[in-house]
């Protein structure tokens, strides 16, 4: 076995794959509050408030947090159904 290993050219092993995967996941998890825990609750609260005035479905409320340079942006999008429909 060892005798033949000697003539084999070295293939890149699985360690380089591990390193790449780790770098990506660790960078992602280090970003503070990439999706805050309260987001789903906030979304359902907003939905409730808006529904007092307009009938909308859950999919019409979109909430996201983005980072732009030094500050974070909480983006709220409520699309209203076409009144003609």
């Amino acid at each position: 076995m060892k005798f033949f290993d000697f003539f084999k050219s070295k293939k890149p092993g699985s360690a380089s794959v591990a390193k790449e995967r780790l770098q990506i996941i660790v960078a992602h998890e280090r970003r503070p509050a990439s999706t805050p825990d309260f987001l789903p609750q906030l979304q359902s609260d907003i939905l409730e408030v808006v529904r007092k005035y307009i009938q909308i479905s859950e999919e019409q409320v979109k909430l996201s947090v983005d980072k732009q340079g030094d500050f974070e942006v909480l983006e709220l999008n409520i699309s209203l159904a076409d009144p003609g429909k």
């Binding site: 000697f6 360690a15 591990a18 390193k19």
Partner: protein
């Protein structure tokens, strides 16, 4: 000046207790009065690794709840004069471990010990958080393996935000990396993350690597910290680690493949 050193990792089974015992014993051998505390309430094992399981009468929780004094609970090591063990409770659950009680015990230990080594349980629950809360220094134990490195990164984040030093805005906990179960042969073959890779990802000061060694199991079988076992490569690695921790410059060992002779290169060993 006393220092509280937490040995932590996030992931279980990477060698926290082995490291706690080895480091505490090496600090004692170097002349520092040292106590090592088991924080794994309900699943204590430090007593076995230290070889004093039959001498446990009172434990950390008895002291916290006033059922025994600190002096009654401290077990003096029979091999090194400067070394003491404070065992965890085996019967109670983790909720009995209060931050207030632990703080009192550590304050008391600070009066007579130079190093207080806290062996953290795995996970990120109460036991682990209590073990790290009062730390001045942290030894993060990591295996060159993907899940261990990720968990270590989480723990490093918590050391920077969930400790007393972080909460009170003092100097941050000094965090150090120890890589255990390191196999230079497999690193060379490209199948194991190298120490360099792990250091690059975790980006904390590197104290050294402990080679994968059969002697670690042999030492734990006999209840001897690896730094007290004779002719143990892992023990030598831990002494290097402790000396670097104490501020000495020690050249790194155990990172490269041992050079093999002509014959063993061809016909295996």
């Amino acid at each position: 000046m006393s220092k509280v050193v937490v040995v932590t990792s996030g992931k279980g089974g990477v060698g926290k207790t082995t490291t706690s015992a080895a480091v505490a014993a090496a600090l004692a051998v170097r002349g520092y009065k040292t106590v090592v505390i088991d924080f794994d309430v309900g699943l204590r094992n430090l007593d076995l690794i230290m070889g004093c399981e039959r001498r446990v009468v009172y434990d950390l929780l008895n002291v916290i709840h006033g059922e025994g004094s600190l002096n009654q609970a401290l077990i003096k090591d029979k091999r090194v004069g400067n070394l003491y063990i404070l065992p965890a409770s085996q019967t109670r659950d983790k909720d009995a471990l209060t931050m207030e009680g632990v703080s009192k015990v550590i304050e008391q230990l600070r009066e007579s010990f130079e190093y207080i080594v806290c062996d953290s349980p795995a996970g990120i629950e109460k036991g682990a958080m209590t073990a790290m809360y009062l730390a001045d220094e942290a030894l993060v134990v990591t295996n060159p393996e993907i899940s261990s490195v990720r968990d270590s990164d989480r723990i490093i984040g918590m050391l920077a935000s969930k400790t007393k030093r972080a909460e009170e805005g003092e100097d941050p906990v000094n965090v150090h990396l120890i890589i255990t179960r390191y196999d230079p042969d497999r690193v060379d073959g490209g199948d194991m993350l190298s120490a360099e890779d792990v250091c690059e990802i975790l980006a904390i000061p590197f104290l050294g690597a402990v080679p994968e060694s059969k002697l670690v199991l042999a030492a734990s079988n006999s209840g001897i910290p690896v730094t007290m076992a004779e002719d143990c490569d892992a023990g030598t690695a831990y002494f290097d680690i402790v000396d670097r921790f104490l501020g000495e410059e020690v050249p790194y060992r155990f990172l490269d493949v041992q050079k093999k002779g002509f014959f063993s290169r061809f016909f295996g060993s």
